[in-house]
Symmetry: D3
Subunit: 314 residues, 6 copies
């Protein structure tokens, strides 16, 4: 198998296919245009400059194109950069496709869908069950494609569903240890808590924020949808308000984006489960390239801390 | 005219009608029950103890009853307290009624309704106009009865409508000075911004928070209602999202309860207008009993500051 | 079975045995001494005044004595107070003992000891295993008697061991879901993290802080003990520093008392497990006296929030 | 009319006059000196590098000189940069002058002076009136030349006077809606509140802080001047202290530079008016280059927010 | 010598002279007026209730009167209270006077004046010397009478001068160890830094804030006076601005009341010296009644900490 | 004497010996390797690029080598950079040595050792004296070599001992002015407070943090060592806990790294002395290159402030 682009070291020569994640045009000091390309594969990304870019180059190497590059890995301001010797667009003959270059959740969509449906099937409160099933069905396609965030954690294809599945399994373990938990509320809250992201974010690839995402945020979007789903399904009862509250409060504090803090036990616990799964995901990724006896890079979303891998671990 | 209860001084004897705002039972050190009464008139409130209370007293002096009291104003821990000599329930013959004891906005409901309708009538964007009119009509009755808050500012009958009318007039002045403001958005935002309070709060008298108010808050409640109104009226277009955003962001910052900060000019300005009118209301009330050369009591919602009335003002 | 003291309502007469938690002397306005007694049973505590207290009363009703009281439940400043009609010290004939009045963990000490020993037995790294076993053995007696805190959570007999057992079970569940966790480190960290409390706190009953507890705190105390244990056992290796770090960092942030934030994955996760178990304990207790459709009292250690029990839960 | 320099796009060729705002010398990797020029016109500014700079170039292209440049707009690190092909100093024959390149308030100085004098003329309290007139007269020349700040808002020629005039008009509107306001205090406070900036700042062009400005700040400077003006005019009375307080407190909070928070109603309201006018100015400028459906750049002084221009606005 | 009032314990009988610090009237539950007296001697203060107070009592026992009391020390809500058996106003025959009941600095005024004059005499920069001497002379009488604060530290007669003398001595020691310090600036800054308190505070006894003190604060008051002194003395030069800056910045941070932080070395060091002397004064007082092995009361101005006196100290 | 590297200006040619502080390899845009060298002498440091670096260059110019360079001082992004014309490793014939390039404390090690020993000799409490002497002796060699920090203050050879000596002298002055201070505790606390840095830091040159330093910090390291020293010396008594507390609390607040705030008078004062000496050191260095009438660079550890040197100082 081919080595990922982030695993090359300064001085190495590379000869690989990469996906253009973004391309922006500049004009060099010699007056000629050049392109700054961000190139990616499943291992991560690297920057490259394409000097003396022609108008055709701008088209051929626009975002979402796959390219074949021969070049060298340099160091520029402490970060690796790819110096291009030759570049060409990939062709059908190359046998490469978009999905070869994208990171994907480690569990298949079908398997995840089955697991989640089982959790819904097991719910006893039919109001909660119907609303959950209705909203999941409505956004089913996007839900199993979208990442859970644009960066920090679960920012890969199907990351949203994968995060939800991990949280459900964690919730189930907790409910065994602390049997006072209402699993209907907890499972439904987990399935719905980030579902508004399918409206807040632009899509699974080159993900950005939509206008509605910027102005309202995934929390308010989903709180609204729960209200409308209840209306469409003709459901009345406190379950609606409580589910809306759980989604509304799942960031835990006003300054983290929840206008109301958790005031229901399951809302408070969901906030913890969300955090724990996200942090575990970040920690695993921060440490996966670190050797025993070394510190990781600083992780911004973990208060900018470095983590140490003890020498007696391997 | 009768002097208000808060204007009596320690040592004064009083012989007046008062409304029971709340009553709670205790047992005294002699083993007999007593009632702690909070009594109010339009000037404010005072506490009183009714010793050796009979079961009939508990009924006669429950909240919302009007009573006639002969007593003395004492001081207890720095606050005035009413020492009851004789007390009796008011009767029809006394010719007193609930509204005599409640503070009411200084403008009549009809006049306020006319003013607000004129602002709606003047709107040019029909999407904004229709949603605003629809939601105001839906909650019309409560809107003109409710206070704007349970304490701090505009906490009187019709306080909500009065606050909105003051803000609309202020917005109109501003729009003259800064003509780039979109008055449709601004007026609609002002009318809707606190409308969720008719669901968040229990009613115009002895106001408390409803369950829905506690769990969701007036901001999320109204954001949802705008979405549903649009659906019912068959309105589509960015106006919906923008109005939702204005309501969502009107507290200005996440830590003050707005999950998104203002990102539209009119949203930012509405936040200022809201603040300015509320603060002006608080300042006027804090200073109304202060003589030139004196400091007011501390005002909790104004960072617990005291305000000074200069000697050259009168 | 006898009803707990906190379950009586204002106006009820009581005739029960209670433990004197604390007693302090005052002088009444008639010039005579009186005692303020805090009385407790397994359900909680109540205050009582013993007027005209004789010197014998001071001895008979000092802290840690059991008394028989006939009296009435009054309300004073919003809290229940016990008005004493008759009081007498309990005698051997009454057949009551100290442990009848103390709250105890829901699992027996033997069972907890077996569970913890099994976790230690399963450790694979012998350095970690030996230090953990050595320190637990050293403080064994106190560890199974002490509460986990003086208030907020697990503040009952054997609360410390019970908290540790719950955390171990939670850690085991997590390690199944996230197999990258080093269970030796995690289990050892959990067993040791609060062990310094047996030095920081005065004992299982009427718990207060020792001088050493005040000046150094349980975290520094245990970090020191790990170092000394290693010296005594002749153990060298990074495990010592890493275990010290896990204990040192388990409060998560400098402002919460950890001079170093977690920099090892297991340290970070231990902090989460600690929090989750403590919060779950607080939530369960806050909600146990609440009926569906009601809010709990405010819980200081949960940001002073109230929690709502939905009407559809029972 | 010539297009402003900030309106050119990457790849455009320019052939225009610009004012050198600042020039600093460096030595290139070929060992030869070069100049980094910040060039401006009324639309804004752009950076340019002049390579192989001679000693004559250093003189010709020093700050405050006007130059004629033929060049190309490049992109460097996400910001536009001007690549110079040819450059020459402007001559008298070119018919360009300093004021052509500077942004100026939209109202003429004479008109502003008349307005402000009218506000002073209308004051009824002669102590307040005399002090205000005295201090304005003393700093008249600078007051109508200086900007209100070095950046963020009203940072253009006559920006200070323009900000004051806008605030006065806003205060007048408010006083109509809230008649309890003391307009003498409010108008005087507005005229004086930032007058210390004529001492704090170096002048209307290439504005920086003076030593006195750095060490004392415009607030303390003006508080002192009010005291001295009163002494010179032989005025005694509480008006002096109150005006000093209004200036002292106009930043609203200690952490924003006011050692005392507002404790007079007009001081509190002045703080709001100041804020509202400054924010409106920032918002208008942030949005003036934004098309409907787009977000503005982030505005640092508005908590680094972007603002959205709705698609239905134009 | 007579034992101070704070050294009596609950149950003790007292028969002593005390100064009435404040007296306020209330009405008891029997409808009769009573007085709440705060009584003090040099050791501290105690509260007492005078029941059934006559109008003559109100006059005889007003603030600043000396009284003879026979009574008992009770405990009320954890604080000592004096139960009055008999009370009478002191007469000339009693031979007691106001100063017997007030705490006074441990050094005589004359001695302090000589020390400070010597520090001024030794200054080499005549501008600094003249301004310092002028301002000290202007406020000489009050300066040697006033306390340094109304509470927390040096809140006794001549406390201001005593604090200044201690700071000067400390500054002299520092200047020996760190010879780069400019002693003229440092000594002058110390003498002037709190001199505005003679205007901010009402006087040496029953000290409160003046209107000017409330609205401007001692810092701004003294910054103004330095400016006026320079004008009167015809002094020009940067010394004026620098001395104003030192006074302005001596609280160290904006949130502590200094609109500018120290930007001169001596200003920074003065802030430290001020702090160190104030904290030392608070620590000594907090610990003076504590026995070895005990913790002091919490000290509000020291972050509400308790301090421990080690058992090996005596 | 040769001019220090930081005193050269842009455009100057240099021909001097420098120590390589660090060297890191990159690959240039021409595909060839280059070295980024940080070069230092006693005056400070400068960056240089060595283009087309051979493998031999990597060895010859690794950290800790001394080099002879002919080059020019350029400016790059506002900082000086050294453009290398010729470079060669120093040889024995050059007569230069490591210590020529390192900053050293202004007092000799012997003199400092004598002073500290005298302070220990003068202690009266033998427990405190023995522990202090034991720990100083144990780390004697490193203690007199290490810096007090990696940056900010006293970051030079023997900086740690120099900081301790200055603090001791300052403590002695204070103890004269405030005789209630326990000098045994204070002197011992000062000698031990930062002694853990000899374990936390890697060494006197190219200082970085050790693993143990990162995971535990110098405070916890020394608290542990005090406990072990007591055990080894067979000392029991509260002195141990108190000394541990003084070291533990010397950063003053939890958020600054002290899990317990000072709760002993001498602990509080030590925190002030530490701060005062560190700040004085930073201030002197910030101002030493500043001319009268100028502001210094911003000092990060002094809240990023600039300091002004008055024109009347020289």
């Amino acid at each position: 198998m081919v080595k990922g682009i982030v695993h090359y070291e300064v001085g190495n020569q590379v000869d690989i296919f990469l996906l253009v994640k973004s391309a922006s045009k500049g004009i060099a000091s010699n007056g000629k245009p050049f392109l700054t390309l961000i190139l990616q594969d499943q291992s991560g990304e690297i920057e490259a400059k394409l000097w003396d870019a022609t108008p055709e180059d701008e088209t051929s190497y626009a975002a979402q194109n796959i390219v074949k590059i021969l070049g060298d890995v340099n160091s520029y301001r402490g970060k690796n950069q790819l110096k291009i010797r030759t570049i060409r667009p990939a062709t059908d003959l190359d046998g490469v496709q978009l999905s070869d270059f994208l990171t994907v959740a480690p569990i298949k969509k079908d398997v995840m869908a089955d697991k989640i449906n089982q959790y819904i099937f097991d719910m006893k409160n039919s109001n909660i069950q119907r609303i959950t099933r209705h909203l999941l069905k409505k956004h089913q396609h996007s839900f199993f494609e979208y990442p859970a965030a644009t960066k920090n954690h679960h920012e890969f294809i199907s990351g949203l569903a994968y995060h939800v599945v991990s949280m459900l399994d964690l919730a189930k373990s907790l409910a065994t240890l602390y049997p006072s938990l209402d699993t209907d509320l907890l499972y439904s809250g987990i399935i719905l808590h980030d579902l508004g992201k399918v409206t807040e974010l632009s899509g699974p690839v080159s993900t950005s924020y939509t206008i509605e995402g910027n102005l309202l945020g995934h929390i308010s979007i989903m709180v609204n949808e729960i209200g409308q789903a209840a209306k469409e399904l003709g459901i009345e009862g406190e379950e609606i308000t409580v589910l809306q509250h759980i989604v509304l409060s799942h960031h835990g504090k006003a300054e983290w984006g929840s206008p109301k803090p958790p005031m229901i036990k399951e809302a408070e616990i969901l906030h913890y489960i969300d955090n724990l799964d996200a942090k575990m995901n970040m920690l695993d990724r921060a440490l996966e390239r670190v050797k025993p006896g070394e510190f990781s890079d600083r992780v911004f979303a973990l208060d900018n801390r470095s983590f140490y891998k003890p020498t007696f671990q391997n």
